[in-house]
């Protein structure tokens, strides 16, 4: 388990008091989650601060169980004098709702096995950074974006955001967990002048758990400018069936539509097109999905899940075959099966060996999808439809930027069209996914 600091020790003492009061007030069980977040957000525009925002927030969330009746409530007011009435309110609400035999705290046996590894989620240097350092970050990102945007720039907003988060969780039946983490983000959003009134807007944000791991500020600003300039001249082309490459940073958007159908709640509520597909092959061999909570410094790494189950590495999908659903304690009882975990940590699709550039050269006519717009995925049927923005290539040569176009399919069909993963996992997210190549996709346009 993560080492407990002084703040978390204070949280621990308060949690004990809340649990004691809650049980004495009539609850059979309860769970307390205490958290505190400190953040700073600085935005520059036209080489001066546009917004400076800074604050500390705290929250207490209390879940109570009263004879299989359940209520949850949160408050920012951690004073014991006001928490007395808060606890009574939550218990009163629980007593009002109907009895549900599946509503209990998890069996404590399932709490066992939390890792002792240090996942390096907290940068100890947080708090040592001065306002001047933060402003300097934003200035450098803005400079790089302006420089690379050149005379096409209409507007650049550069931003630095950092936060320190502390959490302490305790249940009345023996679970205890704590997390301390930091994040540092820098990025820019640029608007460029295109033909007519069209003003393409692109962005690039990159972050890290540790300040020292932030990518080059010059690169962050440069990429924002380049991604914006890539949108110039964007237009739709006639509808066509061709290969598409979904850029690594956008794969999660379409992948989530598939993964949502693995959720226990959707399966039990008959809202999952995958409900009867465990053990079946539903996608191509390239589609292996690993849930790995133990990657040091990664954004999705964690020690425990929302039920208090210890985080564990698991292969959700192996070469297109579904191994495991995402089932927490409550829905495991409803489904009469063993719980797994209802939430994912870091998602990984094993990267391939070739770069996107190398793949494009061999694909002939294809579209590289660099962003999505709108759209939705129906977890019940598996149907999805989503707008795309990207670049059209032919035999490795850039043809034009594309916009106002769309792809639509059913997930059970679409993931069978997956033929290759590139070597470029997007590490600035908990979805550490590589660019993916799909064959024979209908792209709707003119």
């Amino acid at each position: 388990m993560n080492k407990i600091n002084k703040q978390q020790q204070n949280f621990n003492e308060l949690a004990d008091w809340v649990i004691d009061r809650t049980l004495k007030s009539g609850a059979n069980g309860c769970k307390v989650n205490l958290s505190k977040t400190r953040f700073v957000d600085i935005i520059y525009r036209e080489r001066r601060p546009d917004v400076i925002k800074e604050a500390t927030t705290q929250s207490l969330s209390l879940e109570v169980f009263v004879n299989n009746r359940y209520a949850s409530q949160s408050t920012p007011d951690l004073r014991k004098t006001t928490l007395e009435s808060f606890i009574n309110d939550v218990i009163d609400n629980a007593k009002i709702v109907e009895e549900d035999p599946f509503r209990t705290l998890p069996d404590p046996e399932y709490y066992k096995g939390q890792t002792n590894e240090n996942l390096l989620l907290n940068d100890p240097s947080y708090g040592q950074h001065t306002p001047e350092e933060r402003h300097d970050i934003v200035k450098k990102v803005e400079d790089a974006c302006l420089k690379n945007g050149g005379d096409k720039v209409i507007s650049v907003e550069a931003e630095e955001y950092d936060q320190h988060y502390e959490e302490y969780v305790k249940t009345s039946n023996g679970f205890e967990g704590s997390t301390e983490s930091t994040e540092f983000w820098a990025g820019a959003e640029m608007t460029a002048q295109d033909e007519g009134d069209r003003r393409p807007n692109g962005y690039n944000y990159m972050g890290s758990r540790y300040f020292g791991d932030l990518p080059s500020l010059n690169d962050i600003g440069r990429i924002a400018a380049e991604r914006t300039l890539d949108l110039m001249g964007g237009n739709k082309i006639p509808s066509e069936t061709l290969p598409v490459i979904i850029e690594s940073r956008n794969v999660a958007t379409i992948g989530n539509g598939f993964l949502n159908a693995l959720a226990g709640a959707n399966i039990q509520q008959k809202r999952s097109f995958l409900a009867d597909k465990r053990g079946q092959k539903v996608a191509s061999d390239v589609f292996t999905v690993i849930d790995d909570p133990f990657i040091p410094k990664a954004f999705g790494s964690k020690y425990y899940d929302g039920d208090g189950f210890p985080a564990r590495r698991r292969e959700l999908i192996t070469k297109g075959t579904i191994n495991e659903f995402l089932i927490g304690w409550y829905y495991s009882r409803k489904l009469e099966c063993e719980p797994t975990s209802s939430s994912v940590s870091n998602l990984i699709i094993p990267p391939g060996h070739r770069s996107v550039d190398e793949i494009i050269k061999e694909l002939g006519r294809c579209i590289l999808i660099t962003d999505f717009i709108g759209g939705n995925s129906n977890s019940t049927t598996g149907d999805f439809s989503i707008g795309i923005i990207g670049k059209l290539y032919d035999k490795g040569q850039f043809v034009q930027s594309v916009a106002e176009m769309n792809i639509a399919d059913n997930h059970l069909n679409f993931w069978n069209k997956l033929v290759e993963a590139a070597n470029d996992p997007w590490i600035y997210s908990s979805a550490r996914l590589p660019s993916l190549v799909f064959e024979d996709v209908i792209v709707a346009g003119v």
Partner: protein
């Protein structure tokens, strides 16, 4: 984690129903003795004028032009039903003050959940840091701005006890199951909140309000021949508890069940460009996304909106007038005053096809030399205000709805949409059609579902070539407009209208016509 810096509209869950429901006698919680919109923060938290003046002085201690304080106390609760039982109660309390200092168009912002003087002064010092000159000297004299009352609620009924909501949610469940034997699952719920705010500004406004909000919803799953389909509906807004009566419950259940069962017959339309008829009501979200966001003045002040250079120019056919309105009674986007203290009002964006103006907060109004339009809104005290829409709609035309459909020839008819998104600079947008129909030879035929429509806002506006006389406003309460990480409740409306051409993202390639 940082949100993606674009605008999204997310339609929340919706609907359910029940029959012959007898509402329980409401249990009244007398949280307050005085009227809800005056003296609350003084009585409950000791926030008086002298303390406010001290905080404003601190916020302007480094030479800001303007400062404001936004006190908030919001209590919300959602009661949820699953598998026949009302078995979940979720509550949340928001309490704090946000303090903003404005220097020209720059914003310093601090907030605290702790309403002690020490914490609030510290937040004011954070806000002040946006400026770096000598303190501004101010003599404050506060007044309450004249405003309408667009969500009158009985002060004694503003708190809706959880117990009073329970039979309503149970009734929705029963109603949905009774409506069709194909229904296999019902999720229903009743979310409501009371938001108490006090706005104090360095230019002399002191305004308190108590804002109700909420919605009743049902989401159903139907099964037929081994296939499953889902649909949902909700009704709500800024309403009294008495709104959630038999009629409301029946409408929610009927819409959710009908929408789900219709989908068994639905097909996917061909992909490609085609005429699109937007049905009345909820399709107004397309107006909100594709056009409204581009008319928010902050995007234009920064020259990043496609509408930045179009004031006074023709942007649509002469029969088109578009309004953003705070004054519709009880709608989700209605506001008595905005979150800067400017009275709610009706703002004409496009009049007879000409772009007349933008949606302003105080910063953009000063930039353009116009009066604020009452569009300065924020999610909560943890966020600073910015120009946001309220209830956005297009006035009806002269045609009959059937004539609009007939004029389309071959295309699609859109009845329900969700998950819209727009790119402000390009004007490009996308919407997900959750329910609609094919139009073949001027007549509605097979149902369609789960397809996207894509287009460009300014192009679509010029391509609206016919509008019917049946303007409807969306009556839901679950709609949230997202911008820069902040969600605010909105509504919208549209008459049946014909868009000459949009891209439809079906799964079949359209047969090329010679």
């Amino acid at each position: 984690m940082k949100p993606i810096p674009r605008r999204k509209f997310i339609k929340g869950t919706s609907i359910a129903g029940s029959a012959l429901l007898l509402l329980p006698e409401l249990e009244i919680k007398r949280f307050i003795q005085s009227a809800p919109s005056t003296g609350y923060f003084l009585n409950e938290f000791g926030i008086d004028e002298s303390l406010c003046k001290k905080l404003l002085d601190k916020a302007l201690s480094k030479g800001g032009d303007f400062a404001d304080l936004y006190f908030e106390y919001t209590v919300s609760n959602t009661l949820g039903l699953e598998d026949g039982k009302v078995n979940q109660s979720y509550g949340n309390i928001l309490l704090g003050v946000g303090i903003r200092t404005v220097k020209e168009d720059q914003v310093g912002y601090g907030f605290t959940q702790d309403l002690s003087e020490e914490s609030m002064v510290s937040a004011a010092a954070t806000a002040a840091s946006i400026a770096d000159s000598a303190a501004t000297t101010n003599e404050y004299s506060f007044r309450r701005p004249e405003s309408g009352q667009y969500y009158p609620v009985d002060p004694e009924l503003i708190e809706i006890p959880v117990k009073s909501k329970l039979p309503i949610v149970q009734a929705i469940n029963e109603k949905c199951f009774a409506a069709s034997p194909t229904i296999v699952k019902v999720n229903a719920g009743f979310a409501n909140s009371v938001k108490r705010i006090m706005i104090v500004t360095s230019d002399g406004i002191l305004y308190e309000d108590a804002i109700p909000g909420g919605y009743l919803y049902a989401a159903v799953v139907a099964q037929k021949d081994g296939r499953y389909e889902q649909a949902s509906w909700n009704l709500g807004g800024k309403r009294n508890f008495s709104y959630y009566n038999d009629d409301t419950i029946n409408e929610i259940a009927e819409k959710a069940v009908t929408n789900a069962t219709t989908l068994f017959k639905a097909i996917q339309p061909p992909a490609g460009e085609m005429p699109v008829v937007l049905g009345p009501g909820i399709t107004g979200v397309l107006l909100h996304e594709a056009i409204g966001h581009g008319m928010e003045a902050d995007f234009n002040r920064k020259n990043i909106s496609v509408y930045s250079t179009l004031i006074g120019k023709k942007v649509a056919e002469p029969f088109i007038t578009i309004i953003d309105d705070a004054t519709n009674m009880n709608l989700a986007g209605s506001i008595n005053v905005d979150d800067e203290g400017t009275p709610g009002q009706s703002t004409v964006l496009v009049e007879n096809g000409i772009l007349k103006g933008y949606l302003h907060d105080k910063i953009s109004a000063k930039h353009y030399g116009v009066e604020p339009t009452g569009n300065g809104r924020r999610q909560d005290f943890m966020n600073y205000p910015m120009p946001r829409m309220r209830n956005t709609y297009m006035l009806g035309g002269d045609a009959q709805p059937d004539d609009v459909i007939k004029a389309a020839g071959n295309g699609i008819y859109v009845e329900d949409v969700s998950n819209g998104e727009v790119k402000i600079g390009e004007g490009d947008f996308a919407f997900y059609i959750s329910k609609g129909k094919m139009i073949e030879n001027g007549k509605l035929t097979a149902p369609i579902k789960d397809v996207n429509i894509m287009g460009n806002g300014p192009k679509m506006l010029t391509n609206i070539i016919l509008a019917a006389n049946d303007l409807e406003m969306y009556q839901g309460g679950a709609g949230q407009c997202g911008k820069s990480g902040q969600g605010v409740p909105v509504s919208f409306g549209l008459p049946t209208c014909l868009v000459k051409s949009l891209t439809v993202g079906g799964t079949q390639q359209k047969v090329k016509q010679s």
